[in-house]
């Protein structure tokens, strides 16, 4: 791998939301960071604004912890990283760990980023190719571009698949003609 290909940017997660197949559930979780510079913390990470970012302020690995109140199905993680604006602050190696609590985490994904320039979709599946069900997700930044110490992360979104009613008796319809009759509003 002489010249690693740059990580291509993924689609805007908003498009994903509009399909109705997934739902953003970051608001149902408690977010915490291993360290941050004042004014560049969780709020900036979750404010839907790509201009603001989280800047870590400690030693590696830098951690983002997402803890849910109950065991939640998570389908995809979306991280926005931009090499052009963050350069040495851009993460290059990210590890995703899941578990029940801090002592119980297990890595399920590790990804390498090469000069990313947009959204990165991280599908989280278990061994059976189904979305994982977990209490906690930890995103660890193990390394940055150009060996930078601290990292910038601009936005993170967590998606859960939209479940049909439990038994699946009301199928997912795709055409309007069917969907009209699905429910009373």
């Amino acid at each position: 791998m002489t010249t690693p290909n740059k990580t291509p940017p993924g689609a805007d997660p908003k498009q994903l939301e509009r399909t109705g197949t997934v739902r953003e559930i970051g608001s149902q979780a408690v977010w915490s960071l291993s360290s941050c510079k004042p004014g560049f913390g969780v709020d900036q990470l979750r404010d839907d604004n790509l201009e603001t970012y989280w800047q870590s302020d400690g030693s590696q690995p830098h951690l983002v912890n997402i803890q849910f109140r109950r065991k939640t199905t998570v389908k995809t993680l979306c991280i926005y990283a931009d090499y052009k604006s963050d350069e040495s602050y851009t993460p290059s190696k990210i590890s995703v760990r899941v578990g029940n609590n801090f002592h119980n985490l297990q890595e399920i994904r590790q990804l390498e980023l090469v000069e990313p320039s947009g959204w990165i979709h991280v599908p989280l599946t278990d061994t059976h190719k189904k979305p994982i069900r977990t209490f906690m997700i930890q995103i660890a930044v193990l390394a940055n571009h150009q060996n930078g110490r601290d990292t910038h992360m601009r936005q993170i979104k967590v998606y859960t698949p939209v479940e049909e009613s439990s038994i699946g008796k009301f199928p997912r319809c795709t055409t309007v003609d069917f969907m009209m009759y699905r429910s009373i509003r």
Partner: protein
């Protein structure tokens, strides 16, 4: 002291009639400071209320004793507006704890405004969960005054089934004439205040009005001599008074000029053509030779609800001009008859003059004309009648005193008129006398024109009643969710009424309840075209667009509505629906909460909010929202459905079934509901019942594909299939509607068996095949391997 009030009161009324609330409030405050009478208090409170400050009126009236019915009514109205229902009830009927007055007591006490009082009381009862009492009040209110629509509407909404034929009819002349003045006086105020209020205004003047009417009557006669003398007499009055009140006198002079100038133009507009046109409205204007609005004689005649009966006087314009010119005094007389103007515009409005433009001008004219000169006649009457003019006097009592007080001359003419009108009107009502005198005026004193006039008037009211009957039937059908019948009835209304916002919105809603969203959308877009200021009913339109997933139209609608009226819950519901369609549930939630803030008594906002919470999986909040919706409106079947859905999601199937059943009790025609019930019953293992329910659903609405799908899945789950058709398993089935290919996707097969797949082509043939389990989608599709099972399965489907 009472003499001092007249010009001030007149000025205040003039300001109110011109919506100049700052002026009115200021003057009323001065008046009240000067004279702490209950009438002045009432006037001030009215000014506050009309200027939109119900809280001011409330505090003012609370702080002082209110004994007159009009004050009590206004105070109760303020209480209800400020959501102080217990207090309102107490004022109107003695409260929950004290001994309550019966309806008859209320009728006695409030007299002519009893219908409005009872309607308000009914509203209070319904809001406090006493539906039986509420409906009683509404019924009584309607029996007193069949011109009221809102008690009828409220009765339909709480689930009662009032009979439109019984409700909207003119039972007796007495009722007819009693409603009219009452309603008309209240319509003047636009706030349904007791008619006593204008009566109090008129109080000093009814004698004058009669006098004036008599004078007017005579003036339109060819008996100009009497006219002269009368007018001269009234002229003397004005002369006497005018010395003290120069501006008012000049007002009348100006008036006379106005009256002089107007007639010609008005006449041509309201004249023959109206009578001859085949499209003459069934009420609103009476198709006779109506004198022009500005015409003095017309004005007099006009006092009777646009019954332009003025046959004799309109005989020859020349005659009119003669009468006009003959004395300036007549003008002042006419202007004095402005007292009755208070009555006139209302009467016209009451009978819903949808007539030509000019019919409204007299209304506008008359208040202007009325206000300044009011002072004159009042004073003149006072000069004659010393003890009849206390401000708070019961109008009836006053009228009783009427005949004796009027000087002989007037009495004579009055009884004369009375004699004429006896055969026509019930004379137990003084106002009727007033009307009759008004009716009879402008006539050569023969009986025939009066009767003719009266029958015309009655015909106009009948026209309205028959319209209300039809609309009532339609609305009742809609509220009982007999949507097809409602559409039928409402479609048969005359086209000029059909093409109005209210009717079309009801029809649109009927289609919506039938789940025929395309039709509903068509109708609602028509409403938007003809009445783009209408917000009531637009929430249903927004939900229709949500179902049809027309995001552009929905966002245009919501933008327009929110720009137009930020204080209407419908606008925010539309905005919320728009964002919900875009899957931005948090923003949608925000907008629905805003709708609730704007109007906490709007059930649909709670329901929509509940649906959003369900979509964001916050089921507890959703439960709370649906329950709130039911609290506000127990007949809101959407909220019952929402609760059922939540319990279904939580797999509490029996609870789900119970709630769906409640929703079904309210709306038995909904195939979607039946479909859901069928599914739940199947989940409860009551498959036979499930199949019955689903069959019923399919019968009601064959276009609903999901019912068939669920029926098929129930049958499949019960493995009720037998070997059937031949190898070719395709059935030609017309696809309901568009012929657009649709896909039926069942890739998860909960029964562990291979799922179904189907694909329709444009001509509508549907082929089913066995779906290989792994692929989990519609793609795989092995036509050659049609198995008996599957064939039968889709045979069952259709």
């Amino acid at each position: 002291m009472t003499v001092l009030q007249e010009p001030v009161q007149a000025a205040i009324w003039q300001a109110l009639n011109h919506y100049a609330y700052r002026d009115a409030v200021f003057l009323a405050e001065r008046l009240y400071a000067e004279v702490h009478s209950e009438e002045a208090l009432f006037l001030l409170a009215t000014c506050y209320y009309r200027s939109g400050k119900a809280y001011k009126a409330y505090r003012l009236l609370k702080g002082h004793s209110c004994t007159t019915p009009q004050c009590k009514y206004l105070l109760a109205k303020c209480c209800v507006d400020l959501s102080k229902l217990a207090e309102g009830e107490q004022i109107l009927s003695g409260g929950v704890l004290n001994k309550q007055k019966s309806h008859d007591d209320i009728v006695m006490e409030f007299g002519d405004s009893a219908c409005f009082t009872l309607s308000l009381l009914g509203h209070v009862y319904c809001k406090t969960d006493r539906l039986a009492k509420g409906s009683e009040c509404y019924q009584k209110s309607l029996s007193l005054n069949p011109f009221l629509w809102s008690p009828f509407e409220s009765l339909c909404e709480i689930g009662e089934k009032p009979d439109p034929d019984q409700t909207f009819k003119l039972t007796s002349l007495q009722n007819f004439s009693s409603c009219l003045p009452n309603t008309c006086t209240t319509v003047v105020s636009n706030h349904n205040i007791s008619h006593r209020q204008p009566e109090s205004v008129l109080m000093e003047t009814p004698q004058d009005t009669i006098e004036l009417n008599r004078i007017n009557l005579e003036s339109s006669n060819s008996k100009y001599s009497s006219l002269n003398s009368d007018s001269s007499m009234s002229y003397i009055d004005s002369a006497v008074i005018s010395s003290d009140s120069v501006p008012l006198g000049s007002g009348t002079a100006i008036l006379s000029k106005q009256a002089q100038n107007k007639p010609k133009t008005g006449r041509s507009l309201l004249g023959g053509p109206a009578a001859l046109s085949p499209l003459t409205p069934s009420f609103g204007i009476l198709p006779l030779e109506t004198p022009s609005p500005g015409d003095g004689s017309y004005l007099q005649n006009y006092t009777n609800s646009s019954s332009v009966i003025d046959v004799p006087s309109t005989g020859a314009p020349s005659k009119k001009t003669v009468s006009r010119i003959s004395q300036a005094g007549t003008k002042s007389v006419f202007s004095q008859s402005g007292n009755s103007r208070e009555v006139t515009p209302v009467l016209v409005a009451q009978t819903q003059s949808s007539g030509p433009q000019t019919s409204t001008t007299p209304q506008v004219l008359s208040p202007t004309i009325a206000a300044p000169p009011n002072a004159l006649p009042r004073r003149s009457s006072r000069l004659f009648t010393s003890d009849s003019s206390t401000t708070k006097e019961n109008s009836k009592k006053l009228k009783m005193k009427f005949p004796p007080k009027i000087p002989n001359r007037k009495t004579k003419s009055k009884t004369n008129k009375g004699g004429i009108t006896q055969p026509n009107l019930n004379d137990s009502l003084e106002i009727t006398k007033l009307d009759s005198s008004i009716i009879s005026e402008g006539k050569i004193s023969t009986v025939a024109p009066q009767i003719q006039a009266f029958t015309l008037q009655k015909a106009a009211a009948e026209g309205l009643m028959s319209l209300l009957r039809d609309m009532g039937k339609g609305y009742l059908a809609l509220c009982s969710y007999n949507c097809k019948e409602a559409i039928n009835i409402l479609s048969h209304l005359p086209s000029h009424h059909y093409n109005t916002g209210w009717v079309l919105c009801q029809i649109g809603r009927a289609y919506f309840e039938l789940a025929e969203y395309m039709q509903a959308e068509r109708i609602f877009s028509e409403v938007r075209r003809i009445e783009n200021y209408r917000v009531e009913g637009m929430e249903i339109y927004s939900t229709t667009l949500w179902h049809l997933q027309k995001d552009v139209a929905l966002s245009v609608l919501s933008k327009d509505l929110t720009d137009m009226d930020k204080n209407s819950p419908e606008a925010w519901c539309a905005a919320g629906n728009c964002f919900s369609l875009q899957r931005e549930h948090d923003i949608a939630i925000k907008f629905f909460q805003r709708a609730i803030q704007v109007d906490p008594n709007y059930a649909y906002a709670y329901t929509l909010l509940g649906h959003e919470f369900v979509l964001t999986e916050e089921l507890d909040k959703a439960l709370a929202c649906f329950r709130n919706a039911i609290r506000v409106n127990p007949r809101h079947y959407n909220a019952w459905y929402g609760l059922g859905m939540i319990y279904y999601k939580q797999e509490k199937f029996s609870l789900a079934e119970m709630h769906f059943q409640k929703a079904l009790d309210i709306n038995p025609q909904s195939s979607v509901l039946l479909c859901h019930i069928g599914v739940v019953q199947h989940a409860l293992k009551k498959s036979e019942k499930a199949l019955d329910t689903l069959n019923k659903a399919i019968n009601i609405d064959p276009k609903n594909p999901l019912c068939k799908f669920h029926r098929a899945s129930v049958l499949f789950a019960n493995e009720k299939y037998k070997v059937s058709l031949g190898a070719r398993g395709s059935l030609e089935i017309p696809v309901a509607g568009n012929g657009v290919p649709w896909e039926l996707n069942v890739h998860r097969s909960p029964w562990g068996a291979p799922g179904l797949a189907g694909r329709a082509w444009d001509m509508g043939s549907i082929c089913f095949g066995k779906c290989l389990p792994h692929q989990g989608g519609i793609k795989c599709f092995d036509w050659n391997k049609i198995w008996g099972r599957q064939v039968l399965l889709f045979k069952l489907l259709f």
